[in-house]
Symmetry: C2
Subunit: 126 residues, 2 copies
Amino acid sequence: MFELDLRSRKPIYEQLVDKMKELIMNEVLKPDEQLPSVRQLAQQLTINPNTIQKAYRELELQGFIYSLKGKGSFVNPMDAGKDAEKIMQVKLELEKLLLEALYLGIPAEELHGLIRELDASKGGGE
Amino acid sequence: MFELDLRSRKPIYEQLVDKMKELIMNEVLKPDEQLPSVRQLAQQLTINPNTIQKAYRELELQGFIYSLKGKGSFVNPMDAGKDAEKIMQVKLELEKLLLEALYLGIPAEELHGLIRELDASKGGGE
DNA sequence: TAAGTGTACTATTATTGTTAATACAGTTAA
DNA sequence: TTAACTGTATTAACAATAATAGTACACTTA
C-alpha cells in the first residue's frame, strides 16, 4: 500500500504523511475507514512503530485523521477538521509555488487547466 | 534587506533561499545584479559565512543565481537556468498543493483568480 | 482475561544545521 | 607585485532532529 524511499533525504514520517494525504484526498481511503494500526504498519514496512506514530500524530494535527485510544486511527470526513489557519497556510504556500511556476515559464493557461482537471476529478471519484 | 527568524524550525539557509527567490521573481533584484558577498551578508545578518554559502549554492543549483570565483554572485536572467527537470518538479509539487487546496474547500474560482493576479503582475513590475 | 488498539517515556545512534577557523584560487585596483 | 576583495573547500565541534529500541500504561473488544 505504501512505498518508502529509505535512502531519501526526506524523513520517512514525512513520506508517510504525504502518501496518506494523497490517498485520503483521492478517496482511496474512505471517510471513517480504519487505517492500519501503528504496530501493524510498522511491521509491514519494517520500520519503527514510533515513526508511524509520529506520522499519525502529524496527520491528526493537520486534520486528516482522528485516533481513538484502544480502537484505532480513522480517516477524517472531508468537512471535519478544517481550521482557517490551515487554509491560510496552504494559500500562502500555493501563492509562492504558483509565482515560481509562472516565473519558470509555465503558461498560465496550463495552470488553469490543471485546476480544472483536479476540480473535475474531485467529487466524482476517478 | 532580509529578515530572519532564528527561532524558526525552518533552517536559516532555507529562509534565505526563499527570500532570495521571492526578490528575484518579483524583480526587486534585477537580472545580472550583484548580490551581497558571502562574508558581507554574513556580517550584516550576524550569522556564519558558511550558512550564506550554503544558501547561495542552493540558489545556484536551482538556477536563480550564478557565481563567479573572485567576482561575486549575480542574479540569473529569467530565461537562463531553466531545466526541464526543475519544471517537472515544480509541476508535481503544485499538483499536490492544488489538490489539497481543493480538498480544503477553497473554491476553484478563487484559485483561478489567484493565477490571474500573479500572471498580471508578472511582466509589468508592480 | 487476553489481545488488540493509541500513547508516552527514556535512551541511543545517525544525520543535519550551524558555527568556527583556516586555507586556496581567481579578480581587481593601487 | 601587492593588498583587498571575491567564491570555494575542508576540518572540527556542538545542537537539534530523525529514527530505532525497549518498555510501560490506558482503553476497547471479544
